[in-house]
Symmetry: C2
Subunit: 421 residues, 2 copies
């Protein structure tokens, strides 16, 4: 049946509400994003803060937007935003980049995943001792993934993107993403097995790990072989929009395949992004069509703010008033910071250890996606990531992100690597 | 609650299905579109045919996609496509263009709306005499709106876009859209009143008409006054993506407002498109950002094919085997053609009447949107547009669209207006 979007006269109708929410969220996210950008912060922080404001309007005497928060369509559009975001993250690197980062960056990445996980586990065990070890492990995993976009922007602004420290940070962040996704697959697998009443032994965990790596490397190997060939034929059609349609199909198709393999959809989207390279579309750009990242950007500019605003809306700030929550949030943030500072110790000689430590610090979109996944997973009838833990996780993301630009700039100046501004 | 998109392992899960459907629909629509473009037809026909194929796979021994057809999310995404499509149609003209088309084009437009409506009403009364007069009127309204995109592309290809005939056709098509939307508002209002158990008298109909015109002209007048001022301030923010976010917000916001006024959402989206003009964003393009129609196009390239594929899926071809349906489809198509040929008689002197008649002939996206709305409206428990009538309407759209390019090219050559190819 065709729904009644076009004709409905009721303001309470789901479809009309979605249109209004779209209008409102886009303008608000843009305004808040622009203001925090003025303050030298990334736009995503403004979008998140706008979401927190929207989700807590009732506390300020405003209307409750609980209906919007509960809307399935709003949720799906936000999730499409997350899928496309990870696709964009993947597009920024190639399999060759991943191979080329070498041992030093891999070592930094491994330290930057293991240390925060251990510290996060410890903090959660200390504060929420009654919870299962699986919940502790999940909280640890939320601290694993560096959000390199913020660091990259600072490095670029300071004209320090070509320094050895920058190369280590950017390389480690790519490996970091892969390791984080695999860790997520393992912990989610363990939790789902527990929810189904079975426990996973070491063999079961190894099986998930093998499946995750096999999917990622299989998708990348097969995709890298096939995609230039498919795109070469597709471009022979000489129809506008072929590259966009095929690339998005690859993204959605691999996301679906990842889900069929029991992994997160974002793993597939990330693999799709890694596989695609600009060289596949050179002819297409020569013909005067827009390069993929540009046409993709218009779509992500629409859907990604919806994701971040929604993530903000899910933070109910009254949780911070509950006993222990603020303390937990602060401890989690400290664990997240110290955990990534440990990366500096793993940095090779000739590289500024302080810069590497601070550059790995910001946690952003991937941490938020992990927190959202945790909120949807259940152990014994409780969400793995409770509303309180979710609020603390967002606090951690906001603080680590906001603290990075000034600290990193200070360190770059200390290194003598920053261009005089 | 955050839904389980990221982690689901089940292939039957709604979210995984949407991702797969997205992947499949995008590639299929693009391929079919490219093939029919090779044959000199517009891509939308290919998308529609791909949808018809998908919706009737079961007849060919394939799997049934009824679950996809029934998916609420797929429906909403398709409807966002329709909203954005009408926004794009509106963007192609400005209020000034509308004022400037003058009396001759207005006369052509009025004839081109009234004649097909009368003929469509007659055909439906002849074939479905048992139905209400409101159903007949709705079938007539489906024939009203010219899809000028197809004609414009042919005129452009033949380098005849600056001829007097072309100016009359393009001007009339704009007025045509407005009249069609108002007719839709009136008929839908009558049907909704009937469904609520009341009948609208002449006064009630006049009230709807006044409301529709008041909304359109009010939105255009206020919007034309405010939008340059708002955009001037917004551009002062100098944040990338401001124009896209604000424009889409205006589109969704006016669509919502139209729905609150009891009109179709597409009326608001069209008005939003009319109001926005490139001059508002000149500074923004000078700063190196993409012009609005380009960034918008990446989004419509994603969502509009979903709309057309879905419209095709709703055609169940076995309806054509039912007695009378094929005959009705043919009669409706003839009524649609003759109805628009009457425009030629209203064309002013010095203009090729045959070219105007043929140029006004194609019915496309707007006719399909009307048919979809009719399928969602109920009179006495029956859809105003039954599955059989819906199938016939799509037949009419396909035939009038396919017949236009060759006939129009022939007429342009006869006029001596076409550039030698």
């Amino acid at each position: 049946m065709i729904t009644t979007l076009f004709l409905t006269a009721s303001g309470h109708d789901e479809h009309a509400r979605i249109l209004l929410a779209f209008a409102f969220v886009l303008v608000g996210a843009k305004l808040f994003g622009a203001v925090v950008e003025r303050l030298g912060q990334p736009a995503v922080l403004g979008e998140l803060l706008f979401g927190i404001l929207l989700g807590n309007l009732a506390l300020l005497g405003g209307p409750s937007l609980a209906a919007l928060e509960a809307s399935e369509t709003f949720a799906i559009l936000a999730e499409l935003g997350a899928i496309l975001l990870l696709f964009e993250v993947g597009l920024e690197s190639t399999p060759k980049d991943m191979m080329a980062v070498g041992l030093p960056a891999t070592l930094v990445a491994v330290v930057g995943v293991v240390t925060p996980m251990v510290l996060g586990y410890g903090v959660d065990q200390l504060m929420h001792g009654q919870d299962s070890w699986m919940a502790h492990a999940f909280v640890g995993a939320m601290l694993a993934a560096t959000s390199v976009g913020i660091t990259a922007r600072v490095l670029q602004g300071a004209k320090a993107i070509k320094t050895p420290s920058a190369r280590i940070i950017l390389g480690a962040a790519v490996i970091d993403d892969v390791l984080g996704l695999v860790v997520l697959a393992i912990i989610a697998g363990v939790i789902k097995a527990a929810a189904a009443g079975t426990t996973l032994d070491a063999m079961g965990i190894a099986a998930i790990m093998v499946k995750a790596f096999a999917f990622l490397f299989g998708a990348i190997a097969i995709g890298s072989f096939l995609s230039p060939r498919i795109f070469r034929h597709a471009l022979a059609i000489r129809s506008t929009g072929v590259v966009q349609a095929l690339s998005l199909s690859l993204c959605f198709g691999l996301a679906w395949l990842a889900m069929q393999a029991g992994l997160a959809g974002i793993v597939g989207a990330f693999a799709a992004g890694l596989v695609l390279e600009d060289v596949h579309f050179e002819d297409h750009v020569k013909r005067g069509e827009k390069p993929l990242h540009e046409s993709l950007h218009s779509i992500t500019a629409l859907l990604v703010p919806i994701f971040f605003v929604r993530m903000g809306m899910l933070v109910h700030v009254d949780n911070f008033l509950k006993p222990g929550v603020m303390g937990f949030a602060v401890l989690l943030t400290v664990a997240a910071m110290i955990g990534k500072w440990a990366c500096g110790l793993a940095a090779p000689r000739g590289v500024s250890r302080v810069t590497v430590a601070l550059g790995m610090m910001p946690r952003g979109e991937v941490g938020l996606i992990f927190a959202g996944i945790g909120a949807s997973l259940m152990i014994q009838g409780h969400a793995v990531v409770s509303p309180e833990t979710y609020a603390a996780a967002v606090f951690m993301v906001v603080v680590t992100t906001m603290a990075t630009p000034p600290l990193l700039l200070w360190s770059l100046k200390r290194d003598g690597a920053a261009a005089p501004s």
